[in-house]
Assembly symmetry: C2
Homo-oligomer: 148 residues x 2
């Protein structure tokens, strides 16, 4: 299976002087196989299909590293905020489906004018922001209402 996205991400580890281990491959596979935020525990469970004895501690350590390398981004969820989705390096946002949790990354960010207003009104020098958007994905819009 020569998955191009997998290879690209896998190389990020090496490119920054880190080892490309089986547990790390398993975590990549788990993250690539889904389009919704996964908790560390979920990543461990799914990752064990690829690395039988993948440990939860390793998942935490790998996510911390991937976060530093901007391969992954923490997503704040309504309950707790400790899900993770794959991310493009740099400033992006995510839209999460409130029914099935499917997530899509949004690359542009036109908040400039609004943030200028905020700066003027508050006297704060704005240095960053965290925006998460919730909605209903195309699939779920065509589903009958609340199932399960």
């Amino acid at each position: 299976m020569m998955d191009h996205r997998f290879d690209t991400l896998a190389h990020e580890f090496r490119a920054h002087g880190h080892k490309l281990t089986q547990p790390r491959r398993a975590i990549l596979h788990a993250l690539l196989a889904t389009a919704k935020p996964l908790s560390p525990a979920e990543i461990q469970q799914r990752g064990q299909d690829f690395c039988h004895d993948l440990g939860l501690v390793t998942v935490y350590r790998t996510l911390e590293l991937m976060d530093a390398l901007e391969m992954v981004r923490a997503v704040h969820l309504a309950d707790g905020c400790h899900g993770y989705v794959l991310a493009t390096p740099g400033h992006t946002h995510h839209v999460v489906c409130e029914r099935c949790h499917a997530v899509i990354e949004v690359i542009g960010c036109e908040l400039g004018d609004f943030l200028d207003t905020v700066a003027t009104r508050t006297g704060y020098q704005i240095t960053g922001h965290w925006l998460e958007i919730s909605g209903v994905c195309a699939d779920c819009q065509h589903e009958p209402p609340h199932e399960a």
Copy 2:
């Protein structure tokens, strides 16, 4: 001390059929005395100045109630996301100072156009968003760099 903001908030409990207890008063005092997000543990500590044996469990329960009454809002912080600030009912955002954590609530929200763009690009029907802004407050802008 007839603090008007305190009285207004205190009445919210009664207005919704809840009791106005000493622990709840203490939590209000703690939240009113500061302008930065406080964790449940911090609220307990500060609240104990007003109610000596304020329990942490009560803080959790009261925050849950206040959140339902829109008296308070959970703020997602870079590390963990379980601080709380007082909030105006309805849709608002907060700007948090990255140095001293001072927070100001921002009432307007001009994300409409951007969210329309997102809807078009993703096919999602947008139902809500969570925006947190970080910056440097006016006071900290006049401070010499990293102290502490």
